[in-house]
């Protein structure tokens, strides 16, 4: 029964994300006859379904959804959707929805397509270690923060371009001010950076205890370290050197792109001990 419900949710979730993103895109273009008030309800329903899915998945496999990059992608998509839902309900700001939910949709689609993987092997027993559990959870929140920062950065650049060239179309009408977008980029990245820092600190202490073949030369550690350095540089540039907003958001987007690409490559091809399957 649980397996059947999981299979249904695996189909419904990406469909939900696609529909909700479509409705937010319609709202962005002010085709309200199509989207109307249903978009927020649709988003809430999708977020609730995703929450239930995470619970069912955990119950079926007897472990948290953090063993493969594709499970982590689904978790990041969930974190993005929840964060945006809270933002929308608290501030009424809807202009950024289509961008953030687009990223959540892409992550969830990739995750759903490749999600068959968990059943192909036994989970690594290290996952039962409390320290490793916190390490992975904090890393997920960290990457979700980077993703949110990068999306606000993309919106900043789009708005910047719109203002520069004087297009004054739907981006101009719907997006918040450049200053707000810059602040959201920096804030999200900062939260992501802090989570990643904590995750790395926990990892440095707990991973050598659970892995016999632990190595500081592991590609995943190196890639994560570089991502951390990019965001550290961003924080120094923002708070120490007062770098301009455009350069800051470029760093945020670049940092996120590097983090995603490097994680995909090292998880797929390079990582040695640092795997959970």
């Amino acid at each position: 029964m649980l397996h059947f419900l999981n299979s249904v949710a695996e189909v419904l979730l990406p469909v939900g994300y696609v529909l909700v993103t479509f409705m937010y895109a319609m709202d962005f273009q002010k085709c309200e006859a199509i989207s109307g008030k249903w978009k927020t309800r649709g988003l809430l329903a999708t977020v609730i379904l995703h929450f239930l899915y995470i619970g069912m998945h955990t119950a079926e496999y007897g472990r948290c959804m953090v063993t493969t990059p594709f499970e982590i992608m689904s978790l990041i998509a969930f974190t993005l959707a929840v964060t945006y839902t809270i933002l929308e309900l608290r501030t009424g700001e809807r202009g950024t929805g289509v961008f953030i939910l687009s990223l959540a949709m892409v992550l969830e689609l990739i995750s759903a397509v490749v999600m068959k993987m968990p059943s192909s092997g036994d989970p690594n027993p290290v996952l039962s270690n409390m320290g490793v559990g916190f390490h992975v959870s904090f890393a997920v929140f960290g990457y979700a923060g980077f993703a949110l920062g990068a999306m606000h950065g993309v919106m900043y650049l789009l708005m910047y371009r719109e203002l520069k060239r004087g297009g004054f179309g739907s981006l101009y009408r719907n997006l918040p001010s450049l200053e707000t977008l810059e602040r959201m980029t920096v804030l999200s990245s900062l939260v992501g950076f802090l989570f990643l820092t904590v995750s790395m600190a926990i990892g440095i202490f707990s991973l050598p205890l659970v892995y016999d073949n632990f190595s500081y030369h592991d590609p995943k550690l190196i890639a994560t370290g570089i991502s951390w350095l990019i965001y550290a540089a961003m924080m120094v540039a923002r708070y120490g050197m007062h770098m301009d907003g455009k350069s800051i958001v470029r760093l945020a987007i670049g940092g996120f792109a590097f983090a995603i690409v490097s994680m995909t490559i090292v998880n797929g091809f390079l990582s040695d001990f640092h795997r959970f399957m």
């Binding site: 203002l163 520069k164 004054f168 009408r173 997006l175 001010s177 200053e179 301009d244």
Partner: protein, 429 residues
Amino acid sequence: MIFAIGVNHHTAPVTIRECLHLSDDEIAEFLRVNTGRLFREASIVSTCNRTELYALPAHDEIGGEDLIAALRRLRPEEELRDEHFFRLFHCGAVTHLHKVAAAVDSQILGDMQILNQVKHSYELAIDAGSAGNVFSHLFMGALHTGKRVRSETAIGIGAVSISFAAVELATKIFSDLHRKNVLIVGSGETSALAARHLLSKGAEHLSITNRTYENAAALADELHARVVRFESFPDVLQEYDIVVSATAATEPVITYDMVKAAMKRRQNRPLLMLDLAVPRDIDPRINDLNSVFLKDLDSIQSIIDQNLAQRQQEIPRAEAIITEEVVNFFLWYNTLEAAPTIAQLREKFEQVRAAEMERFRNKLDPDSHDTVEMLTRRIINKLLHPTMVGIKKPAHDISELSSRIQLVRDLFDLSEEEINDSNTSNSGS
């Protein structure tokens, strides 16, 4: 039948509209004098773009031309002619008022200021005693329509004047104008207007510079702003987040090198520059600089054009709401046809009851008589209630309502003469 007559921006140029613009006192006086004589109920909406009289005539012989003549007597200017007046009747008049309240008929589409003006007109009519049952329903309905259109459509969204569009532009770059430093270059009318508008939108740190120091000082004094000497403003340009320039200079007042140096000093923090002068005050190459947003009058006009186009797209949705509310009004209005029949029916039942009570007067002691009196009234009320509700039930078709009324008249044998009597006694209620 409800009439709407008047002049507005569709029918008359501004000079004519000015002629017929009425003060609150004039409106109140006009309504007081003519209520009961010329109309049973009336209200006047008088703004800079329209003076419109909505009226329910006192009797059938009074038409639109009589109402126009009455208005023209207030302003016997020669240039105000009959062809400047529009004339709308009943459904047209009601729909027009709803369109006015919804800002669909405004000169600046979606200018929601009109909603308050319609509300004010209604309040004037109440004070003058010219708003009765029908006009209360009519104006409350129109105000409801206006509120619905404002909240359910985007017809009032986006700036449609130069000064509003300039401020809107500023809010798309900066999240909070309170903490931003604004420099106004020039002290003419345009500069003063822009400065006042920015102040009204929360900008607090305002500086003014002008070639003639005294003019800058005078404006700064009025606006509680700082004065910056014209010769030294390039040296402090980096302090400002918004620069508005509107001088009469024939050569650029703010050069590329000036802004480039300032941007370096302000570490490329965003700078909004609004050039409201013709010929332009600010070197257009400045827009190429990183984080500088230079907008001239043409750019700001294009914001207005796009906002107006966006508002135009909302018209069908606004009109759908208007149609819905006008239908609601007439569903209620049509039930007024039944009022004389209801009064007559009640009267007939009361006569029967009173006659029977009279017959038993001597057979009942005073206490019992009062009790039976109360009892019979209650029985009649309860018996009549379903008929009253049925006859007043909203009808989409006036013929449906008429046949319903006719059926009741036939059933209870109500004569035409009595109806006419009731009509007379009910008019003006």
